[in-house]
Symmetry: C2
Subunit: 159 residues, 2 copies
């Protein structure tokens, strides 16, 4: 079954190419961007400014095709794509939790942005610790590999 | 711009109607379900069993239309839809973090399931605390409203 979504806005960021980008919002401290929401959705932003963090769901528009096994940025061996956050996946859906700075009509200023400039936005949800923070037992192949999240950057592998 | 995704599998759960469901996976402790991944994607599950929790991205297939202001299950006043997790939204995209029990070929057994039976799956990502746990300052209108997450259930409002 095909599922059709509509772009509801665009994410403006300093990252003009997929190379040399932070690989997660946790590795993008202080980097600013803005969401330009299509004006017809502005009313849906009511009450959002009360939240300090929001979940963005967006389309990896520059990522074409996919591999079921792929080398993620944090590793040098191939991993099943669903065990990674790599952009080349069967459906190119990305999620980032960013800091909400302020909202001016249909424009949302954000921080900790790890997103490519011009990315089509699909949804915004509030980040709610009671919903979104989970206690885990196992972190799979990422164990001990996330220590350099602040310095590691993307390369050409998913172009 | 329209963005077209493909259903990659189906989520089987005990919830046959949208009424009387847990409203978040945090309120669905012990409730089991399974993901039936389309077989052509099975290779993409390699390495996933090392993770105890996974993020499911799916389509709210029973939710038709949307309202820009809506009464969420946790409140009695209308809120901007992007400040809620309500299913009736411009793009009906849902996310749930569930516990991964085990994987048998293309079938993933899961727990803490707050998802409607038959839901079309769009993506699976590993839940990684270093990526996904954020320290917030403000939780907006949800402050003091998430205390009964274990007992509150959905009603008819989004049918």
């Amino acid at each position: 079954m095909k599922i059709i979504f509509e772009q509801i806005g665009t994410i403006d960021t300093p990252f003009k190419t997929t190379e040399n980008m932070p690989i997660q919002s946790k590795g993008a401290k202080g980097i600013k961007g803005k969401i330009i929401l299509n004006k017809e959705f502005t009313l849906g932003l009511n009450d959002l400014s009360g939240f300090s963090h929001i979940i963005l769901i967006y389309y990896f528009h520059k990522s074409k095709g996919f591999e079921l096994e792929t080398k993620p940025f944090l590793d040098n061996v191939k991993r099943g794509v669903f065990s990674t956050r790599a952009p080349k996946r069967p459906n190119g859906i990305g999620i980032s939790v960013v800091k909400l700075l302020n909202i001016d009509k249909n424009v949302i200023n954000i921080e900790n942005v790890d997103i490519l400039d011009g990315t089509p936005l699909l949804d915004i949800k509030p980040y709610i610790p009671d919903f979104d923070i989970h206690t885990i037992e196992k972190r799979g192949w990422t164990k001990n590999k996330t220590l350099n999240l602040n310095t590691i950057k993307s390369d050409k592998r998913f172009q």
